[in-house]
């Protein structure tokens, strides 16, 4: 597969925005979908649709098998040990809530401590905040430096005998910081503390090996990995899934239901209550195949090249300030333009067909720390090219012109 021409595989790029070709630089928010994924969805609904796991007619059995195939693909994609360790949710946020809620129920008591970092997305903070509220637990924030790197030594100092879990992002959706989670996990495991890794931004952009990382939990979303909306993935070590209580209760997650007791289904069904996002999970297999056809190494190389090109070009613009300068950075570039508010940047760029995001990107803690109320963010996907960046740069340069600034 030729990575240079990959745009042609995404139908949306034949679309015009404000009469200009779409330059999509909002992939950290959600990625666009290749034709193979869109077609699979179409095909499944047109020719194969059935609910899974409940009926035994031909369509149902086929769908059940296809669903299972995606589970196996996901297992291989992140190198989990068994498919029972892969739980499908509706999004990464639900996956993290599942862990916070069930782990919290069982293991968090008044005064216990949870460590998160100043880089976290709200989805990896609010679920822990719920525990703080309900269980009178404490949350400690591992600090970051101005570069946007977590200060690992300070994180280490936060660990006490009351620390029950550490939740940390693998790749920041604001600064692009690639966090050395393996190091953090080793450190935590020495003190028997489990670690949840928020993999929303790592799954689409770097090679992930949960067995090598040895993380206890890893959560990500299908829609950021060239898949449909409506699917999230929780990887969890079997020992946890076996030990923790169920999360959502209902059909399919039970093995026996009586008036006075309920027995739960074995893994993975125990955590998959009700009708799942059947079509979405089945379709997600195509997203993984798409990534495999490219190869994560090629993807990383390509995105690195585009990111470096963008950074170089943007840094040359006088009034532009890039937020954060992490040691190890992926294709997420948050920036400011002097005297132009990020929302105005977004509107002006949109006139050029350039889709970026402006705001706090669900990271208010980070923005508060950096004393910013909002930033503009260009984030790179596998389909982006140097030409896209040239248009971005042109549009950025024009922002100050529109504002009558020299």
């Amino acid at each position: 597969m030729d990575i240079k021409n990959i745009k042609s595989q995404f139908p949306i790029f034949s679309k015009k925005i404000n009469n200009k070709p779409l330059i999509y630089l909002d992939s950290s928010n959600s990625s666009q979908k290749p034709l193979s994924v869109i077609n699979r969805l179409n095909d499944f609904y047109s020719n194969e649709f059935s609910n899974i796991g409940r009926s035994i007619h031909t369509l149902a059995v086929n769908a059940t098998n296809k669903f299972d195939e995606t589970r196996i693909s996901v297992k291989n994609f992140i190198n989990a040990k068994s498919k029972e360790e892969i739980i499908f949710t509706k999004n990464a946020t639900e996956a993290i809530n599942l862990v916070a809620s069930t782990f919290g129920q069982q293991n968090i008591r008044e005064g216990d401590e949870i460590i998160v970092t100043e880089l976290e997305h709200h989805s990896n903070y609010v679920p822990w905040h719920f525990l703080r509220n309900n269980k009178k637990a404490l949350i400690k924030f591992a600090p970051i430096n101005d570069d946007g790197d977590i200060i690992i030594d300070k994180l280490k100092e936060l660990i006490t005998s009351k620390t029950k879990i550490i939740a940390v992002t693998h790749l920041s959706n604001v600064t692009g910081t690639i966090v050395p989670v393996k190091e953090i996990i080793e450190m935590a495991h020495k003190k028997n503390i489990p670690v949840l890794v928020d993999g929303c931004q790592s799954a689409p952009h770097i090679k992930v090996d949960v067995t090598d990382l040895d993380c206890d939990f890893y959560a990500f979303s299908g829609h950021k990995v060239y898949g449909p909306t409506g699917v999230g993935i929780l990887y969890a070590k079997k020992k946890w899934l076996e030990k923790l209580p169920p999360y959502i209760g209902g059909g399919a997650m039970i093995s026996e239901v009586k008036k006075d007791k309920v027995l739960y289904a074995p893994l993975p069904e125990k955590y998959e209550a009700g009708t799942m996002p059947t079509a979405e999970v089945i379709t997600f297999n195509e997203s993984i195949k798409f990534l495999e056809s490219i190869g994560m190494d090629n993807l990383m190389k390509h995105e690195k090249e585009i990111t470096n090109y963008a950074l170089e070009k943007l840094k040359k613009i006088n009034s532009v300030k890039i937020i954060g300068n992490p040691k190890n950075k992926a294709g997420v570039i948050s920036f400011l333009i002097k005297d132009v508010h990020p929302h105005d940047i977004a509107t002006i760029l949109d006139e050029y067909g350039v889709a970026i995001r402006a705001g706090h990107h669900c990271c208010q803690i980070f923005h508060e720390k950096m004393k910013l109320s909002a930033t503009a963010r260009a984030s790179i996907g596998v389909y982006n090219t140097k030409e896209d960046i040239d248009i971005l740069v042109q549009a950025v340069e024009n922002c100050r012109k529109v504002f009558n600034l020299k």
Binding site: H341, H343, D344, T347, E351, G359, S373, F403, N404
Partner: protein, 156 residues
């Protein structure tokens, strides 16, 4: 459509140096507004006198050029008006932004009309309408003495 229709000079100027910022002395009404879409925030402080006239009107807030300019122009236009007149101006403004109608209020002078009309370009940018209207909805809320935070999602 030209982006300069949105970013007219009056707007840029008000956006850069908004008038009536801060907490005015002796305010007796206030309200907070919030746009969850982009995170814009505004806090309106209003001093109404005994005869229901806007004696003073200021705001605090952070946001884009559109929202700051709109709030700034609003304070200029509404100060000195009665609550009834203020509401007329507001309704005029909102319908201009949304339905492309002209300003009908007969209690604005030409200069004021020019100012308010400078915001009319927003109607071409549906995603920015909320930036322009937030401060007005919040003023309305302050005048009506509502407790809830104004949420631009809910009112537009």
């Amino acid at each position: 459509m030209d982006i300069k229709e949105l970013y007219q000079d009056i707007i840029l100027e008000h956006g850069k140096s908004p008038r009536n910022k801060g907490k005015c002395k002796g305010y007796n009404h206030e309200a907070k507004g919030y746009n969850p879409l982009c995170g814009d925030k505004v806090h309106v402080y209003l001093k109404l006198n005994d005869i229901k006239q806007v004696e003073n009107l200021t705001f605090e807030g952070e946001g884009c050029a559109i929202s700051l300019a709109s709030a700034s122009i609003m304070t200029e236009l509404v100060k000195g008006k009665s609550v009834i007149e203020a509401k007329k101006i507001m309704n005029d403004f909102l319908s201009m932004i949304k339905n492309d109608t002209v300003i009908k209020s007969n209690n604005l002078d030409e200069d004021q009309k020019t100012k308010i009309m400078s915001l009319s370009g927003v109607k071409q940018f549906p995603m920015r309408v909320k930036c322009a209207t937030l401060s007005w909805h919040t003023l309305n809320s302050a005048m009506e003495g509502k407790k809830d935070e104004v949420n631009s999602e809910a009112v537009d």
